[in-house]
């Protein structure tokens, strides 16, 4: 489904270059839930953002569902409609109502009729449990509700993969659960998911595989079971000691 090979992303700033993503090669299968964890600045968000072209990479390659990112003929907008993304800061469109947030891209990108887009939007709002808020503007919603709308917005495009970039980090603690519940439900339904998160409980419960990144590299990967109980690398042990 997703294959990255020797992915390299360099940030240049103030005379120093940082290898934010350094030689990352991995494969993610259809229906797999991969959780990426690591200390801040480890390049996990940058890696995620490379997967839908929000960051351009400097070397290596990404192939998603047969679409080759390095091929100059590839239309990145076509890739993006198949790869949904949920952001830390939700990034809902504040000038659109909740329902309009979900229908906008359906009508202008997927070319669906307004009626079709709305019925799909309402079904997804019901699925994430906030059907009654469809006419509200995002600013009237709590953080947890906004993030659930953002998930519905991504789902409305019928993506093959959804990328989650620290979806619960900006939430008040009491709202984390409602967002994670929606994500767990998606995982059960077989959605392919790549999740950058600090929620270790979620990682342990839902992930099929965990990638541990540090300084732009994948340091260790494995099942949650082996990762949390018998980490092999020193850096992994250090990290787990700090957070658990």
């Amino acid at each position: 489904m997703i294959k990255t090979s020797h992915l390299l992303k360099i940030f240049n700033g103030r005379g120093q270059t940082v290898r934010a993503v350094d030689d990352v090669s991995t494969e993610i299968a259809r229906g797999e839930v991969v959780v990426v964890i690591g200390p801040s600045g480890s390049g996990k968000s940058t890696f995620l953002r490379c997967l839908n072209g929000l960051e351009e990479f400097d070397a290596g390659n990404i192939i998603i569902d047969g679409v080759d990112f390095a091929d100059r003929r590839t239309d990145i907008n076509q890739v993006r409609r198949e790869v949904g993304m949920v952001f830390q800061q939700f990034n809902l469109f504040p000038h659109k109502t909740v329902l309009e947030n979900i229908t906008l891209a359906q009508t202008i990108v997927r070319k669906r009729s307004p009626a079709e887009a709305e019925s799909k939007g309402r079904a997804l709002l019901a699925k994430v449990g906030i059907a009654e808020k469809e006419a509200e503007y995002p600013s009237r919603l709590s953080g947890g509700q906004q993030q659930r709308v953002a998930i519905a917005r991504a789902l409305a495009m019928d993506p093959k993969v959804i990328l989650f970039d620290e979806p619960t980090s900006a939430l008040d603690p009491e709202m984390v659960g409602e967002v994670l519940d929606v994500m767990k439900q998606l995982a059960r339904e077989g959605m392919t998911m790549v999740v950058v998160t600090h929620e270790m409980g979620f990682a342990r419960e839902v992930a099929d595989r965990i990638l541990f990144m540090d300084q732009g590299r994948i340091v260790e990967e494995g099942t949650p079971e082996s990762f949390f109980t018998t980490p092999r690398e020193e850096r992994t042990k250090l990290f787990l000691n700090q957070i658990l």
Partner: protein
């Protein structure tokens, strides 16, 4: 800290007192320079009643005068047989049947209300400002988009345009536009005036639009792009609507400035409100009154505009 709400009336009283002082001192000041006010002369320059003289369009002979009560129809026949008929007030008929006429002879007169120079000037100011405002908005939007574009050519052009326009006086720009561009392209003075104002306000609008676009968090366009929208769709559906809302107050200020700046086109002999004011003074000698009236008219137009913008702002704030 003062509790201003409790003692509100005291402050209102003070405000009224200060305003009264200003008015009184102005009256005293004009007394000292021995100025006689003639406010009664002003309304005539808004609307006036006069006899409109009707003239014969060609040489010929009056063939008939038919009276229908207050009005009479005068018919003139030219030597080649062409007929001309006109209705005039019966009391104002100046010719009789059979009379030989030359072109331009007065047939009669019609009394009527006419629009005075101040109203005409006000109208010119309004439409010139409106038209150049719309053009300036379009120009500013395009330039603002170029200004934030990744393309160095577009960015360079927009920066040069903005810097030149913002760094030179509007008065000089109007002269250059009228005497140089206008001569080269053979432009009418009105076209030159409107273009100069539009180009002038476009540069300021561009900077406002640029600031507005850059004030929208990057996450907004990232979210739009992540849904598969291209950069054009992202701009049109996501960034510009939000930027527009944020830039309304500075845009309103810009258009209010434009209305006032439009008074400068009088230097290329466009009879706008301020030039009309100057012309009225030459015949009325009511210098103080006319300038006060002209100022009040500008104030009226700009107030209407700011109320309208205020209304739009309130309507757009529902999503806050």
């Amino acid at each position: 800290m003062y509790s201003t709400s409790k003692d509100n009336w005291k402050w209102q009283l003070l405000l009224a007192g200060i305003l009264i002082c200003i008015v009184v001192s102005m009256v005293v000041a004009t007394k000292r320079v021995d100025y006689t006010w003639h406010w009664e002369r002003v309304p005539g320059y808004f609307f006036y009643h006069s006899e409109e003289l009707e003239k014969a369009p060609f040489d010929g002979q009056v063939t008939a005068i038919t009276q229908q009560g207050e009005l009479s129809t005068v018919t003139v026949k030219a030597e080649d047989g062409e007929l001309f008929s006109i209705e005039v007030e019966t009391a104002g008929v100046k010719v009789s049947t059979g009379e030989e006429l030359f072109e331009g002879d007065i047939l009669g007169s019609n009394p009527g209300w006419h629009i005075g120079p101040l109203v005409k000037g006000l109208w010119t100011t309004i439409w010139i400002s409106f038209l150049s405002g719309i053009l300036g908005m379009i120009l500013g939007l395009v330039t603002g988009l170029c200004r934030v574009s990744k393309n160095p050519t577009l960015r360079g052009l927009s920066i040069i345009y903005i810097e030149i326009i913002r760094g030179t006086p509007l008065l000089v720009q109007i002269f250059i536009f009228y005497f140089f561009v206008g001569t080269v392209l053979n432009l009418d003075r009105l076209v030159a005036g409107v273009c100069a104002l539009a180009i002038f306000s476009g540069a300021y609008v561009a900077e406002i639009i640029r600031a507005g676009i850059q004030s929208i968090p990057k996450g907004q366009s990232e979210a739009a792009r992540s849904l598969g929208m291209n950069s054009f769709q992202t701009m049109v559906y996501i960034v510009l609507p939000q930027a527009f809302k944020r830039t309304l107050p500075p845009l309103a200020g810009q258009f209010i400035s434009l209305i006032k700046d439009s008074s400068l086109v009088s230097v290329i002999a466009i009879t706008d409100l301020s030039k009309a004011g100057r012309e009225v003074i030459t015949s009325s000698f009511a210098t103080f009154e006319v300038w006060f009236v002209v100022a009040a008219l500008y104030l009226a137009v700009t107030s209407v505009l700011s109320q309208f913008i205020f209304w739009v702002e309130r309507r757009l704030s529902v999503s806050d």
